[in-house]
Symmetry: C2
Subunit: 144 residues, 2 copies
Amino acid sequence: MIINKNPREYLQSYGIKPSLQRIAIVEYLMKNRIHPTIEDIYNALYIQVPTLSKTTVYNTLKLFVEQGAVLALVIDDKNVRFDIDTSCHAHFQCCSCHRIWDIPVGNADLLQVRQIDDLLITESHLYYKGYCKHCNNKMVGSSC
Amino acid sequence: MIINKNPREYLQSYGIKPSLQRIAIVEYLMKNRIHPTIEDIYNALYIQVPTLSKTTVYNTLKLFVEQGAVLALVIDDKNVRFDIDTSCHAHFQCCSCHRIWDIPVGNADLLQVRQIDDLLITESHLYYKGYCKHCNNKMVGSSC
DNA sequence: TACAATTTTATAATGATTATAAATAAAAAT
DNA sequence: ATTTTTATTTATAATCATTATAAAATTGTA
């Protein structure tokens, strides 16, 4: 799935009707590949979409995830993060600044959605935790 | 690290002073390899340790995780799960019944704690989501 | 225009987790 | 053994992400 597509078409390709709010949200996800929280998205958009409500952000992301247009990342125990890049890659979260980065996976075999035992697997997630360059240098306090 | 060890020695080997409550909790984790939540642990133990408080379960698990005696699993967005098996393995969570199982990893390379770019990696987690045999047969509703 | 369906919104409710500070227990010192 | 100090446990309240609910606004359609 190409991400540098116009937001409207992107939504439609996943069977999602493109409303003003939905377009603003995908657009934000396309341009800000920081694995944002609901809060991040809301804070960034309520200026340009003044009527926006946080409930709408929750509802919209739930819809996007259900339709497969966005991936929900459960890595941080504090907040769910969202990733519009649904292609095969891993993540790294810094225990100190809590930012999340994409990590390419060399051998993607382990992440291939496949049959294991009697389990029907629909998603695979690989993530690392540790300290980013900045926080490791500064020796800033942990919280993982 | 051997898990079939007596709880007291296990705690001591991680530099944790073995109190009554702490022993009850590791013992529970050793005998019930179901990746329990705080709630699960509390519900199972407050009968045999009547003074037990949920705050203690939170505090204790936090200590165990900090000392490396137990692994915190962030897979389910609802609750953190705990695993006393800190050896290299993956997990599977059923989107319907929310149970979590251990999955062996064939090639553990991806999960090896190592240096990537400028990142200092301290933990790796691989997990799958989908439907277990029981829920897939019964076609029970999702919630992932 | 009027009707129906969808989407958005504000508000309240839920529920996991953390903060706080008092109570208890254990260890050390006298 | 008794006091003093430290560590641990506990009850309670606070926080904060997420969900539920129902009303309001918007869109599509006859």
